[in-house]
Symmetry: C2
C-alpha cells in the first residue's frame, strides 16, 4: 500500500500498527461495513455485508478482524441480550438503548459528568464502563399505545 493510500484510510493503518496488527484489505472492509451502516450489526451481519464487496472473505476472518478492531480501539463490542454480540464503530462516549420490543439498538449520548459515579471497593481498577438502557423505543411505544 502506498503512502497516499495509507493517508486516505483515515488512520486505520496506523491504529492497527499501534495495536501490533497489520493493515489488511479484510480489516479495511470489515471496518468500512461498520462505518457504512451504524445499526449495531452482529458478526454474522457484518459477514454478510462484507461478502458483497469481498465474496471470498470467511467467517473466521470477520471474527478476527472485529477482534483486531476492538483491540486497537476502533470498535466497541456490545452485549445486550442473549443473542449475538453486536459491534459499534462509534467511539465517542455514549451508551446504548435497547428496545426490548423490536431489538433495535440506539446510541445515546452521555453527559460528560455521568461516568465515574460508581465507587469501587479497594483494589478494583476500572477500565471502561458499559451502560445499557433497556426499554421501549418511540416507534414501539406508539404501536403499543394504539392497540387494535
Amino acid at each position: 500500500m502506498s503512502v497516499v493510500e495509507k493517508k486516505l484510510n483515515g488512520g486505520l493503518t496506523e491504529r492497527l500498527n499501534t495495536g501490533g496488527f497489520r493493515f489488511t484489505p479484510q480489516r479495511q472492509q470489515v471496518y468500512d461495513v461498520l462505518l457504512q451502516k451504524r445499526d449495531h450489526p452482529t458478526a454474522e451481519e457484518v459477514f454478510i455485508r462484507a461478502k458483497k464487496q469481498m465474496p471470498e472473505i470467511s467467517h473466521a476472518t470477520v471474527y478476527n478482524c472485529l477482534d483486531a478492531l476492538v483491540e486497537c480501539g476502533l470498535v466497541r463490542q456490545v452485549q445486550l441480550d442473549r443473542g449475538a454480540t453486536r459491534f459499534c464503530p462509534n467511539m465517542h462516549e455514549h451508551c446504548h438503548f435497547y428496545c426490548d420490543v423490536c431489538d433495535t439498538v440506539y446510541d445515546v449520548d452521555l453527559p460528560a459528568k455521568t461516568q465515574p459515579g460508581v465507587p469501587l471497593p479497594k483494589g478494583f481498577k476500572a477500565e471502561r464502563y458499559e451502560i445499557a438502557i433497556h426499554g421501549v423505543c418511540p416507534d414501539c411505544a406508539r404501536s403499543k399505545a394504539k392497540p387494535v
Copy 2:
C-alpha cells in the same frame, strides 16, 4: 404443597403466581442454586448444580425456570462478554464489575443517586439500566504487579 410450605419458600410461590407462573419443584431448585452460591453462574453451571439434587432435571427446564424467575423479578440476567449469559439473584440496586483477566463477576453497590443520570431523546421509555464495569479485580491486579 401445604400452606406452611408455601410460607417457608420465601415468597417464591407468590412471586411466581403474580407473574402468571405455577410453583414447581424445578423452579424452586433452580432458584435455590442461585441463592446458594452467588457467583453469577451460566445456565449450564446452574444445570450442573441443580442436577446434584435433582438428577432428572433437564437442560430445557433450567432455561425455562431461569426465564420464569427473570420474568417475575426474582433474578437478573447479565451479559458481560461473548460467552454465556449469567444469572444473579441479587435484586438490590447494583451493577457488575467484570474482571477481564479472570472472568469473575462482582456485585457493586450503586449510590442511590447514580441511576437516572442519562437524558433520553423524546419518546424513549427506559425500563431498566444495566451498568457493567470492565477492569481488573484486586487479585489479578496483584498478580500483574508482581511479575516473575
